[in-house]
Structure formats: structure tokens, C-alpha cells
Amino acid sequence: SLVVVSRFKTCLTLTDTRMEVSRRRVLQKHLEPARPLRRCPQVDIGKQSICLILTLVMYLIYIYIYILFVGRISYSRDFLIGLASCPQARKKPEFLPEHPIVLNEAVSWV
């Protein structure tokens, strides 16, 4: 019976020891710097690539919508009129034919 008890104790102690060991392992895991460092970059690359693909898809959709609906050089009336008075717009064009409808000096119409 003693033997049995001692074995039992041994078992208990063994179990205790295992539990302690396991606790220690858990703690050690958290303290280990190497594993998280190895794992994190792998996860980050995955996220980055997904983000990259999503951005690319969004950009392509944007370009598609832009070409479909907006892809033209458009100006409002007010913007065009705003440019009428700039010095570049006041020069007489080269090779303007001699004609009764052609004026020598620029005239502000707007």
C-alpha cells in the first residue's frame, strides 16, 4: 500500500510538475520574441496584398466610371469667361486672314 501511496504521490508531484512546466511554457511562449516576429510579417504581407488588390480594383472601377461619364475635358461657362481676360487670350492669332470681319485689336466682349 505504501508503494501505491508513494506512486500516487509521485504521480501527483509529477502532475504538479507538468502543470508547472506547462505554465512555464505558456509564459515562455509569450516572452519569446522570435515566434511572433516570424508570424507577423507573414500575416502583414497577406493583408497588404489584399489591400493592394482592393486598391487596384477600386482604381480600375474609378477609371472605368471616369471614362464612361466624366472622361472629357469639360469647362463651365464661368470658367471659360474667366480665361478671356488673361494676356495669352488677348494676343492676335498668327495667320489670321485679312477680312472685314477680322479686327486689328482684341475687343472684350464679356
Binding site: S74, R77, L80, A89, P93, L96, L103, A106
Partner: protein, 237 residues
């Protein structure tokens, strides 16, 4: 005769008197020379200058005037129309525009045309032959302002009908002035409706304004009809 012709002419909207008759030999030579000049000027590609605001398309200003005292039947429309110049940017447009008299100051039977570069303001041009035009008749005194609003909307791509717009015309006549905008496909009702609605908006037209759409094939038919009538009256005289 001229007065009778004037009285007989039904279509006076925009392009006008595009006669198909063959000009005389001297006139033919002149036309060929002008064609050559126009081809040379076409080859000179107009581009926006540094720092200028580019336009979606290059455009060309044209001017035409029916010579007084000459019967229209012997005139070639193409011979009468004069190319003023082409531009590719907003600044270049203003250079031309500020050096030209306004439509309201034109006298006689005159037209200003502003068309995309490469499209002649003629029904027979490839870009126009399947097309048509919206016509608005204006009382005297409104042409300059309306013409300006129309061409600014066209240059600024306000019509939102893709490649459909060909050009715009202002026609100064005796009792009224006419502005019109030409598009490529007369059968495309969605496009013509959108052009009409944009015209109403940019010209700030009252709701009761009469707007007429005319296909170029109809214009050609009417012209042919008018010429037959003219020949008939000429025979009787």
C-alpha cells in the same frame, strides 16, 4: 430675280444655299487653289500652348456670306465659305473670338460656323451626312449673346453626348437671326433630346420657345425642291 429667289427660299436655317451646281472653269481653279490652301492649313496641327487649357477637340472658325447681287444658283457654297482659323485651347479660342466682330454686328446674309477640326460645315461631309440640327430662330438683338453661350457650352463639353456634336452655326438674316447646332446621328432620339434640353438650359430659353429639328437629308430635299421652283420661275420670266 434675286428678290424672287429670296422669297422662294424656305430653308434659311444655318447652312443655307449649299448649291450643288458646277462652278465656272475660273471658279473651279480658284476652288482648287483654296482647297489646297485649306489642306495645307489642315496639315499644320494645332496644339495647345504651354500652360494653356486644352479643349476636348480642336475647332475651326468659318465665315460665309452670300455675295449681294449674284443669283445664288450660280454660287458654290463651298466657294463662299472662308476658313478663319483653328484652335486647340481655351486661350487660343479667345484669341480668335476677341479679334472677330460679333454676329449681331454682321450685315447682310452672313454666317459664322464653328465646327470640329476636320468637319466641313456642309451637309455632305461624312460626319454630317447622317445627321441633323436643332434650329432656334431669334429676334434681332439676341444673336451675339446666344451664339456666345452656345459655343461656350460646346467647347466646354456641356452637351454630354460623346462624339455626337459636329458644330454650331449662327446665321444673320434680314428680319431674324438663327442659331443651330449640328449632330452626327439624326436617328438617335436620346441624343437629340439631350442636346435640346442642354440648349434650353445654356441659352436660358423660355419654355414656350419653338425649337425645330431638321435632318440634313430633309435640307437637301428642300433645296432641290427650291431649285426646281426657281428654274420654273426663271423659265416663265
Amino acid at each position: 430675280m434675286n428678290n424672287k429667289f429670296d422669297a422662294l427660299k424656305d430653308d434659311d436655317s444655318g447652312d443655307h444655299d449649299q448649291d450643288q451646281g458646277s462652278p465656272k472653269d475660273s471658279e473651279k481653279e480658284k476652288t482648287e487653289d483654296e482647297d489646297k490652301e485649306q489642306n495645307i492649313s489642315k496639315k499644320k496641327m494645332v496644339v495647345p500652348g504651354a500652360g494653356e487649357h486644352p479643349l476636348q477637340y480642336n475647332y475651326t472658325f468659318w465665315y460665309s456670306r452670300r455675295t449681294p447681287g449674284r443669283p445664288a444658283s450660280t454660287q458654290s457654297y463651298e466657294q463662299n465659305i472662308k476658313q478663319i482659323g483653328s484652335f486647340a485651347s481655351v486661350e487660343q479660342f479667345w484669341r480668335f473670338y476677341s479679334h472677330m466682330i460679333r454676329p449681331g454686328d454682321l450685315t447682310g446674309h452672313s454666317d459664322f460656323h464653328l465646327f470640329k477640326e476636320g468637319i466641313k460645315p456642309m451637309w455632305e461631309d461624312d460626319a454630317n451626312k447622317m445627321g441633323g440640327k436643332w434650329i432656334i430662330r431669334l429676334r434681332k438683338g439676341l444673336a451675339s449673346r446666344c451664339w456666345e453661350n452656345l459655343i461656350l457650352a460646346m467647347l466646354g463639353e456641356q452637351f454630354m453626348v460623346g462624339e455626337e456634336i459636329c458644330g454650331a452655326v449662327v446665321s444673320v438674316r434680314f428680319q431674324e437671326d438663327i442659331i443651330s447646332i449640328w449632330n452626327k446621328t439624326a436617328s438617335d432620339q436620346a441624343t437629340t433630346a439631350r442636346i435640346r434640353d442642354t440648349l434650353r438650359r445654356v441659352l436660358n430659353l423660355p419654355p414656350n420657345t419653338i425649337m425645330e429639328y431638321k435632318t440634313h437629308t430633309d435640307s437637301i430635299k428642300y433645296q432641290h425642291h427650291n431649285r426646281i421652283r426657281l428654274d420654273y420661275f426663271a423659265f416663265r420670266l
